[in-house]
Amino acid sequence: MDGWMDGWMDGWMDGWMGGWVDGLLLTIGITSSFQMQFMLLFSRQGKLRLQKWYVPLSDKEKKKITRELVQTVLARKPKMCSFLEWRDLKIVYKRYASLYFCCAIEDQDNELITLEIIHRYVELLDKYFGSVCELDIIFNFEKAYFILDEFLLGGEAQETSKKNVLKAIEQADLLQENIDYQTRLFAGVMVPSMASESSGLFQS
């Protein structure tokens, strides 16, 4: 019975979500006209490094969205613009070395300023980790979240001063009594033309 239902439910959901029935596409839902619905960070191999959801969705839906979006973005060629329409959302993405930063915004939102939001987040990470690379975010993912949560709240910027965000993080870190010893890993010799996990995000 279980096997049957599973195979069925997925096929069923896929059928509905896949949108091959004319004019009926599952939408995540517009909450207001301006809201970032989620932000995803993933590697060029499609491995998820951070996921921040600002709308309520089940684990299953999040996985499906992530899978689809990662596939779509990774299929984009370098010459294409940083925006694409996906379902009823706008996706703004930018690659920094080996990491893709991907935001889903709503129809009325300003794509260009979203690019600046992404850039500001990368700058914050860079300042915090010192020449940040993907490895930093892998091994210190919780810090990446803390920094994001001091910069954005509910999908909106809460602080527009770089200095203030970093100061808040610094102070919060000091509050922590047990600070895990962080070891920086170096992935060996860096190949200049290929962005690897140890490439600084700001190296082009």
Binding site: W12, W20, F83, L112, R120, L153, S161, N164, A172
Partner: protein
Amino acid sequence: WVCHTPIRLRELIRTIRTARTQAEEREMIQKECAAIRSSFREEDNTYRCRNVAKLLYMHMLGYPAHFGQLECLKLIASQKFTDKRIGYLGAMLLLDERQDVHLLMTNCIKNDLNHSTQYVQGLALCTLGCMGSSEMCRDLAGEVEKLLKTSNSYLRKKAALCAVHVIRKVPELMEMFLPATKNLLSEKNHGVLHTSVVLLTEMCERSPDMLAHFRKLVPQLVRILKNLIMSGYSPEHDVSGISDPFLQVRILRLLRILGKGDDDSSEAMNDILAQVATNTETSKNVGNAILYETVLTIMDIKSESGLRVLAINILGRFLLNNDKNIRYVALTSLLKTVQTDHNAVQRHRSTIVDCLKDLDVSIKRRAMELSFALVNGNNIRGMMKELLYFLDSCDPEFKADCASGVFLAAEKYAPSKRWHIDTIMRVLTTAGSYVRDDSVPNLIQLITNSVEMHAYTVQRLYKALLDDISQQPLVQVASWCIGEYGDLLISGQCEEEEPIQVTEDEVLDVLEGLLVSNLSSPVTRGYSLTAIMKLSTRFSSVNRIKKVVSIYGSSIDVELQQRAVEYNGNDLLDLLGGNDVPVIPTTMPTKPASAGGELLDLLGDLSLGIPPMTAYNKNGLKIDFTFERANPNPNVAVITIHASNSTEADMTDFVFQAAVPKTFQLQLLSPSSNVVPALNQGTVTQVIRVLNQQKLRMRIKLTYIHKGSAVQDLAEVNNFPPQSWQ
């Protein structure tokens, strides 16, 4: 001696990354999860934080972590800041409002909102503002409102965004935040200013009363924006020489909402908008982001015409920008304004047309849409040249839409009938296989109405057939024309161009060639057979025609057989026998019948022996399925649904949806209509094509409106006859 200390987070990460296969990774994860579970069971306070952090890492890799949800709650309740930090993070990642367990957070959050340490208060505000459910928001709105009035800017800015979330979840709570908004804009702190503007925007968008109330803030907002632009270099908020672009954009957006439909407000912001539009640095994305928002605002409020032209010109300049992102937003915005500011946008037509050659798919699509919107009687020739060139070279994904757009534009603005026919020809010959099925009857209608062009049209189409018979819509239209105007073809009556010399036999050769070709679809074969039949009244080679018909009288293709048999019926023989040869009525099924419907009507019971079945019968709605095998792919089952309604009221907005298990593929074509008439007065038909090699299973979903109520039903269809999938 066994070590019970749970391994550190980074140690685990390092270990998992050494896994060489998915299976190896899964094994490591399972082992660690087991260790973590037993640690949880032991109620270990010391290492709970570390364990939850590890769980969050494994969750990100895609492994289930729900057994850690309660542990997050315990961490949140702890007094240690480290615990709270991870606990709240875990809550945001693992909990969501669909699970009742999230409500257990409410009390902790309430306490933490009143904590003596602002960083703890911050965590609580952040979590509530990110994922707070409606119930939580209701319970805690009062605390948020309190914090919105604090003088601590670190907390005030967070409270503002938290309030935004509360309002989004529970709009009726908006009123309670009104008093606290009083002095928000007098703040010097940019974080508070930014979040306050966001809060005000949310309130104005949701309530016309709030909007009216906050209009008085326009002068203050204008002042703040002016200060940002005029102020000198402020290192803290500078981005490439621009002061706090994030705040500028949000202010511009709020101004847009306040100025919309209001003359006074629009006038009050006119100058500052002009100033931003002319003075903002355009060399980097950040400046353009502000300009973009400014343009959107100018276009939405009641701005004077000079300002509107300024805005469109900014978009025009964007179109020439090297940065493809800028070009993209320009096209999007122009598409929005093309109706209201048509003339202004027309001035940028050539730049827009150039964007058809852009490498980016999204830019091309927008340029195409915009180009069609700009076509008018004056520029039709030039524009069509560009669009036809685009049609030749564009990706397949554009061809159908482009072809449809060309047909539409040609119909509206064709400068001459000859030009119109030529344009249609061009589309059919270059993008013929992408043209939508429903274009064929429309084109046929068009050709019929262009009486003086019949000779020219049939000649051109005939010549096109000699070159290429692979593009079905072209072949169908051509066959139809030859059937209708074959006499004009052989009599060489063309005035528009050099008439060709062709004999009856040559024409029949071509049509018969279509009948036997593997390239021809069943619909196309139907067209050619019909055309041959019609020529029996126009040509003298009646014997040849009769021979063809008798061949197809025993064709394996049932619909051709049916047609041939019908044509060979008494009426025809009578007609052929007599001296007066009346025209065979053209109401014979010549429409392509949306891949199923009318052909099946023709076939009636000749459905290759698969019996029809009733798939659904409930509440007066009955849905029957009839079957046929698709040609040439026998693995595709073509099912036609016939929906009928025995109740006394119509079923409107009728939508039929189907789903099949993953191993199948399914395609639904357009339904014949959305109204199932009452008392069985008619049926709605729709064609389903299923690719299957196994036992067919299907779920159907029906929605319709009946006697004012919306009805929805789900059903499983399990009684497919075995022949439908064998």
